[in-house]
Subunit: 262 residues, 2 copies
């Protein structure tokens, strides 16, 4: 699996719970993050480079654990690594949103590039043609998550800035999709701002379920043996380990993060 | 001149006022920004690539208009483009801080990498050995500036988060150095938070004065002819023009921003 940086570690945490016997290789393109403010062409090119590096590691399945890369780079990745099943986080996220919503009114917060690409909107409308999807770019939330400023008045203020205008309307969305793998660490504060009635959906759990189904269907799931983790980053193994531990929910040893070039 | 992105345009604005007859070439490495969270080695490598691209354009003087690159990459750049005078923003910023402070107690807000490199502290102490320098990493301010969220409660909240603890002390600093070229667009809000008594220093003006002195000393200043501007970016000319216009203080035409690869 790969991500622009450390956000995808929230997806890895879900995969580790769903697949207790697999060997995971996680690549974070930390030298070139964030992807969310870059052009679609550049993100697609970076995604292909990351996919190629992972396919050289002999992986059996590729997870694009970055909403921006999945939004604008999935076709390019699939075209380049044809032999591998490739699973992005957008389709599972859209599926989770459609399962969660009652009214069909869904808000998606994501990076600028993901919003511009419109993949969530398309994926939701394919499943539920009468859905009403509001896409909001919320780039500052990436920086908040990266800084670990996930609670308190600053985080509340930034979240309100993005969400309060929409959710204060007479008929607000009933479901909020966290369309960036950085955002789940902000869930408790988002919940404080929005109140208990809004359903908050992140794609980590449904992506993990999709990966599990794919491996079982293809008959390539490991059913015994111990789980293993391998980390690679394109810059700053120390920062990757320090900040990433918060996203993974367990300590990452910086000496076990391999520095690579793409 | 080059910067990781658009922040250096605040320096370009000062250079344009100080040098009305020069031809400026500005390179923003927007594909790889931000530099401030990257390792010193990576930033130095990127800075050398940018300097080489500019030296191929036949420039007569090179300005490193990014505090992070000037903090950790200046020696590497100077070693690579020996024929050119190279001016960074740190030395002029330190000079301005020493001129502004009465008490010698100076706060510097900057990116994580600039703080880690410690160049401001060294440059200030070289000029004033009894100075007391407090360096604060303030990474979220980069994201605020990039998003154009430069005033209102969100910007005030983030600025207070970083600065209030230090400036609420019994004997606070009397001078604040904006140690990142993104920060000058936040000056009015920083002023609101800190009150009128603190001196706010940005290195744009003193850098412009240093460049002017260098060109005059070397006898290579243009004293006639019209000013010209040329822009290059490594990603997203449209975004560069849109967000950059705010930093430069005048409209940038996206069609005049050349997309290049480093």
């Amino acid at each position: 699996m790969f991500d622009s940086g450390i956000g995808g570690l929230t997806v890895l945490a879900a995969l580790m719970r769903a697949l207790p016997h697999e060997r995971f290789v996680y690549l974070g393109d930390t030298a070139r993050l964030p992807y969310g403010t870059k052009s679609a062409q550049t993100v697609a090119r970076y995604a292909v480079q990351a996919a190629q590096a992972l396919s050289r590691h002999g992986v059996k399945c590729l997870v694009v654990a970055c909403n921006t890369a999945a939004s604008v780079g999935l076709d390019a990745v699939r075209a380049r690594v044809r032999a591998l099943p490739v699973i992005g986080v957008i389709e599972p996220g859209a599926q989770a949103a459609c399962a969660a919503t009652a009214s069909g009114h869904i808000a998606v917060i994501a990076t600028e590039a993901t919003v511009r690409g419109g993949a969530y909107q398309r994926a939701i409308l394919e499943r539920r043609a009468d859905a009403r999807v509001e896409q909001l770019p919320a780039q500052l939330l990436v920086a908040l998550a990266e800084e670990g400023l996930v609670e308190g008045p600053v985080a509340q203020g930034v979240i309100s800035h993005y969400l309060a205008p929409l959710f204060a309307l007479p008929s607000p969305p009933d479901t909020l999709v966290l369309g960036c793998t950085h955002f789940p660490v902000l869930t408790p504060t988002i919940r404080e701002v929005l109140g208990p009635q809004v359903r908050i959906v992140d794609s980590a759990l449904t992506t993990a379920a999709a990966v599990r189904a794919e491996l079982l269907d293809a008959g390539i799931a490991r059913t015994a043996g111990s789980q293993s983790l391998q980390f690679m980053a394109t810059d700053g193994p120390e920062r990757f380990a320090r900040v990433g531990s918060r996203f993974l929910g367990r300590t990452i040893d910086p000496r076990r993060v391999e520095l690579i070039d793409l």
